[in-house]
């Protein structure tokens, strides 16, 4: 996290390139048996998808992750609002980024706009995260 928080500051971005092993592990952890996530012939031939579909909540997790990593031990995520706008697939390259859009120095909180773009530049999971700092926002380091 940076020194002095300001609107417009960019968070470190991260690229995710999930393969079918990660997708399988994620759905196994959830106990999610939806075929579109592991059965390629079903996903493509029956449902008409171009590939194995990434689970929507996994994208939501990644939106959290870049904010949570940036915060470290200096704050916590209070809330998030986001939507899954389009399907993503194994083989996609997904870039998660964030930008501070509001800072409340009095209450040591900030709002971060997060986005998850696929390799075509489509923002498939836009959202906003509200964070609270346990240090003054003007002196965070």
């Amino acid at each position: 996290m940076s020194h002095e928080l300001a609107v417009g500051e960019q968070l470190p971005s991260r690229e995710f390139e999930p393969d079918n092993v990660q997708l399988m592990l994620y759905n196994a952890v959830l106990w999610n048996g939806h075929r579109i996530h592991f059965d390629l012939p079903y996903a493509t031939e029956v449902e008409g998808y171009p590939g194995l579909v990434l689970a929507g909540p996994m994208l939501g997790d990644w939106l959290h992750q870049i904010v949570d990593e940036w915060l470290g031990d200096q704050g916590t995520i209070r809330s998030i609002e986001y939507s899954n706008r389009a399907a993503t697939y194994v083989g996609d390259v997904l870039k998660v980024s964030g930008e501070i859009i509001a800072v409340d120095h009095e209450h040591s909180t900030a709002v971060i706009e997060v986005r998850l773009e696929n390799q075509h530049g489509d923002n498939v999971a836009p959202g906003q995260v509200t964070v609270a700092f346990n240090v003054p926002t003007g002196q965070a380091s």
């Binding site: 079903y42 449902e47 939501g60 997790d61 959290h64 992750q65 995520i77 809330s79």
Partner: protein, 151 residues
């Protein structure tokens, strides 16, 4: 007057699930952290749960014959809607307290609202589910609001 939302359908607003009580383990936290590609040691060791760990903790565990042919468990809280094609929805998650191994958490889900809007290509049905997760002291830990759209 709405054309799709009958009084019978709207009567489902306010329906809640039975409380679901689950136990948090370090191992389950570690598996979730690994599967999501998390890089933070505190989560990979299972010292504390990362955000969204409540998703796997409360995912429905149903028997094989309760799954649909495409492997999905049917949400018994939802009525049969006259529109079935799901569009993108949205989530709002509010975190009140951290989640640690050996905590017991209880979830109650409520069908909070059903409403209709006119879309460009026809009517849309929206419904909102609210999931309240509390610890054994009864204090709120997480609240998740999910809005889904049907066309």
């Amino acid at each position: 007057m709405s054309s799709l939302l009958t009084p019978e359908l709207l009567a489902n607003i306010g329906r809640s699930s039975l409380p679901q009580r689950e136990y948090v383990t370090r191992r389950d936290i570690r598996k979730y952290a690994v599967a999501t590609g998390n890089r933070q040691t505190k989560y990979l060791r299972g010292d504390v749960a990362p955000p969204m760990f409540h998703i796997p903790l409360f995912w429905d565990v149903v028997e094989l014959d309760k799954l649909t042919p495409d492997g999905v468990s049917v949400d018994s809280l939802l009525p049969v809607f006259p529109l079935t094609r799901a569009m993108a929805g949205g989530l709002k998650i509010t975190y009140y307290k951290p989640v640690y191994p050996e905590m017991w958490l209880t979830s109650v889900r409520t069908l909070d609202d059903i409403y209709e809007k006119a879309g460009r290509s026809g009517p849309l049905i929206f419904y909102r589910l609210v999931q309240e997760i509390r610890d054994d002291a009864g204090e709120l830990v997480i609240v998740e609001e999910t809005t889904r759209i049907l066309r």
